[in-house]
C-alpha cells in the first residue's frame, strides 16, 4: 500500500514540483488549492497519511487549516510538513501552537523533501 500525501498549495507550479518528486518516490498524491479545499479533501474517502502544506494561501491559510483539522479527533494524528519562506519565519510561533513541528524553507531540493517525508511517514 502506497502512502497518500495531500499537497495543499495555491501555486500550481509548487504543487507540480512536490507532486513530481513524491510520485517519483512512489507515493500517491492528492492536491488541494487552499485550506478550504484541503479540509474537503481530508473528508474524502481516501485516507491521508501526510499533509504537505503551504503557509500563505487565499481563502484559508496553512496555519488556520492545520488548526481546523487538528480539531477533528479522527484527523488530528495526521502529520504535517509546512512549507515556508525565509521571510515567513515569524509565523512559526503560530504554527507551533497549532501543532506544526516540521518546517521546510523554500526553495528546497528533492532530497531534503523526501528525507523530511520519510521522517514523518510511519511504515
Amino acid at each position: 500500500m502506497s502512502k497518500n500525501i495531500l499537497i495543499v498549495d495555491d501555486s500550481s507550479m509548487m504543487r507540480l514540483a512536490v507532486r513530481t518528486a513524491l510520485i517519483e518516490a512512489g507515493y500517491t498524491v492528492l492536491e488541494a488549492v487552499d485550506g478550504v479545499d484541503g479540509l474537503l479533501k481530508l473528508q474524502g474517502d481516501i485516507k491521508v497519511d501526510l499533509i504537505v502544506c503551504d503557509v500563505n494561501m487565499p481563502n484559508m491559510d496553512g496555519i488556520t487549516f492545520v488548526k481546523k483539522y487538528k480539531e477533528d479527533p479522527k484527523l488530528k494524528f495526521i502529520p504535517v510538513l509546512m512549507l515556508t519562506t525565509e521571510e515567513g519565519q515569524e509565523r512559526k510561533e503560530q504554527g507551533k501552537e497549532a501543532g506544526v513541528r516540521a518546517w521546510m524553507v523554500k526553495p528546497f531540493n528533492k532530497t531534503t523533501l523526501l528525507n523530511a517525508v520519510s521522517k514523518l511517514l510511519s511504515v
Binding site: 501555486s11 507550479m13 509548487m14 507540480l16 514540483a17 513530481t20 518528486a21 517519483e24 492536491e31 474524502g44 474517502d45 488530528k76 494524528f77 495526521i78 502529520p79 504535517v80 519562506t85 507551533k96 501543532g99 513541528r101 516540521a102 518546517w103 523554500k106 526553495p107 528546497f108 531540493n109 528533492k110 532530497t111 528525507n115 523530511a116 520519510s118 521522517k119 514523518l120 511517514l121 510511519s122 511504515v123
Partner: protein
Amino acid sequence: MFFSDEQLLEAVKEFKDEALDLLNGMEEGLLEIREFGIGGDRINAVFRAAHTIKGSGGMLKLTHLVEFTHIAENLLDEIRNNKISITDNMIDTFFLCKDHMQSLVLFYAQNSKKEPDDSLKTMSGFLMETLQTYLNGSVKINAPKKKITKNQEGVQYWQIDIMFSKEIYSLGMDPANFIRYLSKIGEVVKIQLNTEYISDLEHLNPSECLIECTIAFRSSKSKDEIIEVFDFIEEDIELKLTTLNDAQEEQNDENQSEEEEEESESNLLSSQNIEKPIAVNNEKETSIVNSSSLRVDSDKIDILINLIGEMVIANANVVQRASLIENSGLNESVSAVSRMLEEIRESAMKIRMVQIGETFSKFKRIVHDISKQLGKQVDLTISGGETEMDKTIVEKISDPLVHIIRNAMDHGLETIEERIAKGKNQKGTLVLHAYHDAGTIAIEISDDGKGLDEEKIFKKAVERGIISEDSKLTQKEIFNLIFEAGFSTADAITSISGRGVGMDVVRRNIEALRGTVDIKSTKDKGSTFTMRLPLTLAIIDGFLVKVGATHFVIPLDMVLECIELSARYRNEMHGNNYINLRNSILPLLNVREHFSTGNDSENLRENIIVVQYAGMRFGLIVEELHGEFQTVIKPLGKIFRQIRGISGSTILGSGEVALILDIPMLMNHIVALQAHNEKGDANEVKEN
C-alpha cells in the same frame, strides 16, 4: 549587457517565440524517440533544441535557465554519444524538463530581468537532481572505480539517549520513524527501551507516548548531522549524544568495506532500473520535411486580411456601377480585377491556414501523461493531420479538444480490469480524425470505452434540476444534457477531469466559433464526439438571396442545389413544412415567415435552396436568387448577438447590408420543431 533596454524587450520576445518552437520540436522528438528509438537525427534534433535555447538564453543572461538547460544538454550529449542508453524514465524526465523550460521561458518573457521565483527554482533543483543521477549512474558504471569512500576515519560509535514527550503522537509524529531514519545515515546497532515510566497496561493512555530509549549507533556522521535527524521534534524530546571512544580500528576497516559493498550494490540496482534501453531503430524513420518558412506577426496578417475584406466590398461596388455603364472595355477590366482580387483573397486566407496536425501532436503527450496518471493503456490514432484550418480557430479549439480527450480517457475508457472482464483488448483506443465536410472542418474524437450511460445522465440531470423527471427526451437530447451548465456525472472529482472547465464551456467555446459539437454513443462500444467548425472566420464564399426587401447570404459550401418551388411542390406541401424531393423527405423553412421580413412582394416566384449540414439536408424557401457572392463577415453588434439563425452580416456592393444565415442553428430549429410535432401527433393520437 549585450542589449540596450529597448532591444532587450524585442530580443526577449524573439527568444520566447524561438524557444517555444524549439521546445515543441523537442517534445515531438522525444515522442518519436519513445516510439522509434534514438536513431536517425532524432536525438540530435532534441539535443540541438536544448543547445540553442542554452545559447540564446546565455545571450540574454538568463543564468538560471542556462544552468538548468546545461545539465539537460549534458545528459542528451551522453546519450547522443552512446555513453548512456536512454530509458522510458529518462524520456519522462525530459518531458518534465521541456515543460519546465517552457515555464522558465514564459517567466522570462514576462519579467525579463528578474530571477525566477522560489517555486520555479525548486522545480529546477528537483529536475537537475534527477538528471544528475542519470549522469552519475553512467559515470560509475563505465568508469573504473577510483575513489574510495570519503571520510572513513570518522566512523564512530554513539550512544543516543532519547526521551519523547507524551504529546508527540498528537503532533502526528511517530518516534519509530526517526529511529528508522537513523539507519539511513549509519547503523543502529542496538535499541534498549527504558520501561520504568510505563504504568500498568490497564491504565495506559494509548494516545500518550511513554517511550524512552537508548540507542547504540555507528556512523561516520558528525554530531550535528545526527542531531539533525530529530530537527522536527527537537522541542519534544530530550536528546543526549555521547561518543564511545573505544571503537576499534578493525571494526572501522570492516565497516569500510561493508559500506563500499553496499554502495556498489545500490549502484547496480539503480543501473538496472535505468537499463531498459529502447531499441535503436533506424528503419522506421519519419521523413522530415523542411519547408522554408517565415515568421510573421499574426497581427500583420490580420490587418492584411481586413484590408482585403474592405477591398472586396469596394470592388463589389465597382462591379455594380460598371455594369450600369455599358462599356465592354470597362467591364472586361473590372472582371479581370475581380478575378485577381479573388485570388489575392484566397492566398491571403491560406497564410492563416495551418495544418491541424501540429495541434494533434500535442495531444500525444497529453494522452501519454493522462494514461500514466490513470493507469489505463491507451492507443492514440491520429488521422487527417494535414487538414488545414484557420489559425485562430485551431488555437481556440485546443482547450475544448483537450477537455473532450480527458473526459474520454477518464470517463469513457474503462480500467484495464474492466476491459478484460468485458472481453475487450486491454489497451483502449482513442481516435482523433479531422476531415473537410461541406465547407466545414470536422474533428472526431472517438473512444472504444463504455459509452454514455443514458439512464445515469437522465437521473443526474433531474437531480441537478436541469430537466424535470417526466421529461421525454430522445437519445440525442439526453446526450446533449452533458453540455448543460452545472452537469457533471463523475461521482468523485478526479484530478484529470471534473475540474476546471466543464462540458458547457466546451460547447460555448465551439459555438463562439460558429461551430457545433454532437455525440454518438453506443453502450460498451464507445462514444464519438464530432466537432464541426467553419474553415475560416473572415471571408467566405456566399450565396446571395433576397426575401422581401432583405438580402441574406448562405455559406456557399453548404448549398447543395436550388430548385423552383413549383405548383406541384406547392400542392404537395398542403401547409406542411416538407416536400418529397426525389423520394426523400425534405423539411422546409420559409425564410420570410421565420424572420418576419414582411409581405410586400406578393406573387413573386419562390425558390428552394437545399442546404446540407452535418449530414442532414433541408430547404430554405426564398424569393430572388442572386448567385455567388464574396462575403466579408462582419460580426453583429452587441444588441443583435442574441438573434438566433443569423451568424453575422456583410456589406453589399450597393452599400446595403445582408444578413448571413446561421445554417447549423436553423438546422437545430428544424430538428426541434420536428420532434415537437411528432410528440404533438402522438398526444393527439392518445387524445383520440
